[in-house]
């Protein structure tokens, strides 16, 4: 296989892999930047995947080709709704945020499978008919070489994800809202003395994280698995969390980390067809993404500093 050939397979699949992780990690950034640990991303993705598939199955006839996009909105809302639970527990009731996140994960899996069995009378849904399909990006795919590698036989959601990453970066670092959100995660008492409603900001952060993770799950379900079962979301939420930390809690960093995961993952699959890697036992290719991540962290990414107030409930008048 030629180098360009390899890239034409590698890049679209990298992008596709990374997309759910990007959305979810961006969500994580909102929550964690506001000071609330969100280990429940996995569960929020589950809700997103579930609701998008259920909606897709029910309304494919109504919305036609627009169905997956509308379903993403539904996933977004459902993710946001479930996240409220995390917000109430960890912000208002001062629950340990990790505990609450773990509960979110258990709850999401239990609830969705319970509902699937209740609704469909079986353990998994049917396959959707209107998923995210392959596209050639208009105009861009005509660019020689680049067009083939990046813009042909690809999907829309990755481009949306990358665009959204920049929007999130803009919101977080250029707008008053972003400044306030970050201040609440770094030093809530300082923010409080500046008249910022810490509780409100944290609620917003957590709910947005749910919405984004919902979209992440919805993208995964509709662009990749095409149905919903217990195995649809199995670890992607944790990978997104890893991407968030890897990317140092920065939206673009998280996007980069997610792309890196996607790349390493795709490489491990494409690898067996690259002459150089042909004779490597498959297990080495299978663990490559994870080993590479650890090496990258150890070698040149180094330590990342979490938002200072991450994980601590804000209690007025305490220090």
């Amino acid at each position: 296989m030629g180098f360009i050939d390899i890239l034409t397979i590698l890049i679209p699949s990298t992008l596709l892999w990374a997309t759910p992780l990007i959305f979810t990690a961006l969500g994580g950034a909102f929550s964690e930047r506001s000071g609330v640990v969100n280990i429940g991303l996995e569960g929020l993705m589950v809700i997103g995947a579930f609701s998008s598939i259920v909606f897709n199955l029910a309304f494919a006839d109504t919305f036609g080709a627009a169905t997956p996009w509308v379903a993403l909105l539904v996933a977004m809302v459902m993710g946001g709704l479930l996240a409220i639970l995390h917000a109430v527990a960890s912000i208002t009731f001062r629950a340990d945020q990790v505990v609450s996140g773990v509960a979110i994960n258990l709850l999401a899996v239990g609830l969705t499978l319970f509902l699937v069995k209740r609704i469909y009378g079986k353990g998994q849904t049917d396959i959707i008919s209107e998923g995210f399909g392959k596209v050639d990006v208009p105009l861009l795919h005509r660019i020689p070489v680049i067009g083939d590698i990046f813009f042909s036989n690809t999907y829309w959601p990755p481009f949306v994800a990358i665009l959204v990453s920049f929007i999130v970066w803009f919101i977080m670092f250029k707008t008053p809202f972003g400044l306030r959100l970050r201040s609440v995660g770094e030093h809530p008492m300082a923010a409080d003395t500046m008249g910022i409603n810490v509780t409100k900001m944290r609620y917003i952060g957590v709910i947005i994280s749910g919405a984004f993770a919902g979209v992440g799950g919805g993208v995964y379900a509709q662009a990749i698995s095409s149905d919903f079962s217990h195995a649809t979301i199995s670890g992607q939420g944790f990978m997104a969390l890893a991407a968030l930390i890897f990317g140092k809690w920065h939206p673009l960093g998280a996007m980069g980390a997610a792309l890196f995961f996607g790349f390493a993952q795709s490489l491990s699959i494409i690898g067996s067809s690259i002459p150089l890697f042909e004779n490597i036992p498959s297990v080495f290719l299978l663990i490559a993404p994870y080993v590479l991540t650890i090496l990258a962290l150890t070698g040149f990414i180094g330590r990342a500093d979490a938002p200072k107030a991450l994980g601590t409930p804000y209690i007025k008048g305490n220090r």
């Binding site: 296989m1 050939d5 034409t8 397979i9 679209p12 699949s13 596709l16 892999w17 079986k122 353990g123 998994q124 396959i127 008919s129 998923g131 399909g133 392959k134 596209v135 050639d136 036989n153 995964y220 990749i224 698995s225 095409s226 149905d227 079962s229 217990h230 195995a231 649809t232 199995s234 993952q265 795709s266 699959i269 494409i270 067996s272 067809s273 498959s282 299978l286």
Partner: protein, 343 residues
């Protein structure tokens, strides 16, 4: 659930309220009864058997339990045996250990296991000649391909999948010795994204027919094939399903990208074995092989869009005949398959 002793008595003496009813149940692995694979197929067999014999779903007829993890197999099998089911199936090789153990403890209960061999007097082992089904799939693929490049996606590298793989290679070789076969294992049965990437790679490399034996991972193959077809309906590419007829997964507008499916008729085997047991001929301690001949494996309907459908069908029937008659022995290992030649 009533008291322990009462239940036990029921189990050993075989009387009680279920006296005249032959009851049967199964334990699925984590896949559940709608995994579009052998769990589903087995459950359909149970339902068919139930219908034949006027049984109702439930404790007095036929039922199933789904496992949530490996640790649940034994509990579930035990539970069913304790509920006085006359025959309890364990679906999948993963249950080998659990059945072995429980069969020793519940000597009066009858068990059957699919895809593994358990050497106990009260266990019947159901094995399939997957290679025969995939051989026919290979024949189809070998004749359908235009590019002479054919793909195989395996779930995990385990013996069952290897049999599928071996038969497929042999089948292709039988009708199209020039065709090249590329194979990849995803390392998992439930990772659709892996299947999708592998399929994407293969299709990009000019492969035009891909056969999967990878459970849920295969969903990724179908997704990729559908997406490519949807984008470019004129493109000729195929996917071949496994275990049950997966043609429903292949619809793209007016097209369907599922060429055919290599069937593993767990349902037939279940009905067959249940009937034998009901009639008092439970083949305890035996290993029953279901192949083409026994209707235990087979090939699903060919896709109508296949341009040379009739020719392919003829060839398939020819080879089916050779296999059922015993003229051809389909290799079970990849090594033998590589050496296989059509004469």
């Amino acid at each position: 659930a009533c008291g322990t002793s009462e239940d036990k008595e029921g189990a050993s003496s075989g009387d009680g309220k279920k006296e005249d009813q032959f009851t049967v149940a199964m334990v699925t692995d984590v896949g559940g009864v709608d995994d579009k694979s052998f769990n589903q197929s087995a459950w359909e067999g149970l339902k068919a058997f139930g219908k034949e014999n006027d049984l109702e779903k439930g404790k007095d007829g036929f039922d199933y339990l789904q496992s949530q993890s490996d640790a649940d197999y034994a509990t579930n099998l035990n539970k069913l045996a304790r509920q006085d089911f006359d025959l309890v199936y364990g679906i999948g090789f993963l249950m080998e250990g659990a059945i072995t153990e429980i069969a020793q403890q519940q000597k009066d209960s009858h068990f059957a296991i699919v895809d593994a061999v358990v050497d106990q007097p009260n266990v019947a082992s159901i094995m399939f000649k997957e290679q025969e089904a995939s051989f026919l799939a290979g024949v189809t693929a070998g004749l359908a391909t235009k590019t002479n490049k054919i793909g195989f996606i395996g779930g995990m590298e385990i013996p069952v999948i290897e049999r599928f793989h071996a038969g497929f290679i042999a089948g292709v070789k039988a009708v199209n010795p020039d065709a090249e076969i590329v194979a990849d294992y995803a390392g998992a049965f439930d990772k659709a994204e892996l299947g999708q990437t592998i399929a994407s790679k293969m299709y990009t490399q000019d492969v035009d027919v891909i056969f999967h034996a990878a459970g849920g991972t295969g969903n990724g193959l179908f997704k990729e094939a559908r997406d490519l077809k949807e984008k470019d309906p004129s493109r000729e590419l195929w996917a071949i399903g496994v275990d049950s007829d997966q043609s429903a997964e292949g619809k793209v507008g007016d097209h369907n990208i599922i060429l055919t499916s290599a069937l593993k008729r767990v349902d037939n085997a279940v009905v067959d074995l249940s009937t034998k047991a009901k009639e008092g001929n439970f083949p305890g301690g035996e290993q029953i092989l279901y192949g083409l001949k026994e209707d235990g494996v087979g090939l699903a309907e060919l896709n109508d869009e296949l341009s040379n459908k009739d020719e392919v069908m003829k060839k398939v029937d020819e080879w089916k005949e050779k296999i059922t008659s015993g003229d051809v022995k389909v290799p079970e290992s990849i090594k033998d398959a590589e050496a296989f030649s059509a004469n």
